[in-house]
Symmetry: C2
């Protein structure tokens, strides 16, 4: 049996009772550590808090491990209970379809325990989830690679009056270019895109367009550490959010479309006063 | 303090540890019972299972109660801890913005505990949440009222290759027209739209259009009791799903847009074989 268990967004107490029971039934517990992270995943005692609460050792599974050792994980799941923990919901902002497809193909029973994901928790700002269009991802620009395919999607959403959730790039355990050239792997320090960087990049793209989908005066909502005790949510124009220090990751950004009066009433509680 | 606590989608064990702690700290516990319901909310012992697990009496709050007695609930929250339980996520498919706005305006601290919602749990079928457009709601047609505003939204999503989540109507505690005419309130039995009815209505609307956005051959995914132990997920053409008995509510339906090979691989596990 392979349990795929969502951990939610905040800390170890965001797990569901069902998830906790599944972990306690499991012979081995892996935690996905390459597409996202919990706020406590950033602190040095984050993992041990989880282990204390769950009463089990946890094996951190980074991208390489899951890609290269998925076979091992799955053969364990053929004859014992294996838990695979995922930040947020198992099929939220990132899917673990590949692992599920392989498991099911091998005849392994897969049991999913859902939880909150950034895709629904952003509802807290008052913008209704009904009124969102396609979600976009904003990758870090480099000197030579400045992809802008998100722009057309934001524009389409805007044209229909819809809000856009922008997920911001996370680079964890990326090999340096230099080390790859030398045929070995040294890793860059982890990088998490801030709302400030995202807005810089968004404005760089829109400034080159006629009748841009958004400008520095477009209303947005910035979220940092969504779902954590110290989450920060600020609504304001792009140029206002650009000046705010949102602190530690993870950040995400919503570009608002057409708003309803009740949406505005909720946003007012988060509005930037500068 | 007003705690707004998501219960998730399945049974009482889908609550998070954080949510359970908040309930246990609360002096009074209300449960929202008008926009959705848990699978166990349909069974006669559903509420008592919750009360047993939480160790507290729960007051069921239907629409009238929340609308008419919100003032009472909020004045309790001014000087004690009040928990307001919501199926799914507090800001998922339905928002409780109105209650939050009133509470915040009165200076009451509001603490939200997130959980899974239908908006992210549908990810389990393999269609990526990134690739969804605007969500639509399908209301029950009546003899005289056959609204079709959802059609244009599905078409826009289709044009962009995006999937569409269709939320299906729930009618709980609706006064009968007859009783309203007599100036009192008798209630109709609760009604939950099935996938079959939704498809009938969707096809009725599309058949009147040139180049319809979807036909009876369009690939869809039907979900019943999503997140419960006995959930049912079937992928197939509209005309295939129309013939399937999905059983007890709640149902929802996804109309697929353009799919990627990995999405197809996951869908294959759910595909209808008739």
């Amino acid at each position: 049996m392979l349990y795929i268990i969502g951990l939610g967004l905040g800390d170890e107490r965001d797990i569901t009772l069902k998830g906790l029971e599944a972990i306690q039934k499991s012979d081995k517990v892996y935690m996905e550590a390459y597409t996202s992270l919990l706020s406590f995943g950033l602190s040095s005692d984050g993992l041990s808090n989880l282990e204390k609460l769950y009463g089990k050792p946890i094996i951190l599974a980074d991208r390489e491990m899951v890609e290269e050792k998925a076979g091992d994980i799955l053969s364990e799941a053929q004859h014992s209970h294996v838990a695979f923990l995922v930040v947020g919901d198992p099929f939220g902002a990132t899917t673990h379809s590949d692992l599920v497809v392989r498991a099911k193909t091998m005849g392994i029973e897969v049991n999913v325990v859902h939880n909150a994901s950034v895709m629904n928790a952003i509802g807290i700002c008052g913008l209704q989830l009904y009124h969102y269009g396609e979600t976009v991802s904003i990758p870090f620009f480099t000197e030579t690679w400045r992809p802008d395919s998100f722009y057309e999607k934001i524009q389409q959403n805007k044209n229909m009056g819809l809000h856009t959730l922008c997920l911001l790039d996370i680079r964890v355990k990326e090999p340096t270019l230099e080390s790859l050239c030398r045929g070995r792997k040294d890793y860059e320090p982890p990088r998490y895109m801030t709302i400030n960087t995202a807005i810089d990049q968004l404005l760089e793209i829109s400034q080159a367009r006629d009748e841009p989908a958004y400008t520095e005066d477009t209303e947005c909502v910035g979220f940092a550490r969504l779902g954590s005790e110290d989450q920060m949510i600020v609504a304001g124009k792009m140029k206002q959010l650009q000046l705010i220090d949102f602190g530690a990751p993870l950040h995400c950004l919503v570009i608002t479309g057409k708003t309803h009066p009740l949406e505005e009433e909720m946003l007012d509680f988060y509005r930037c006063r500068t």
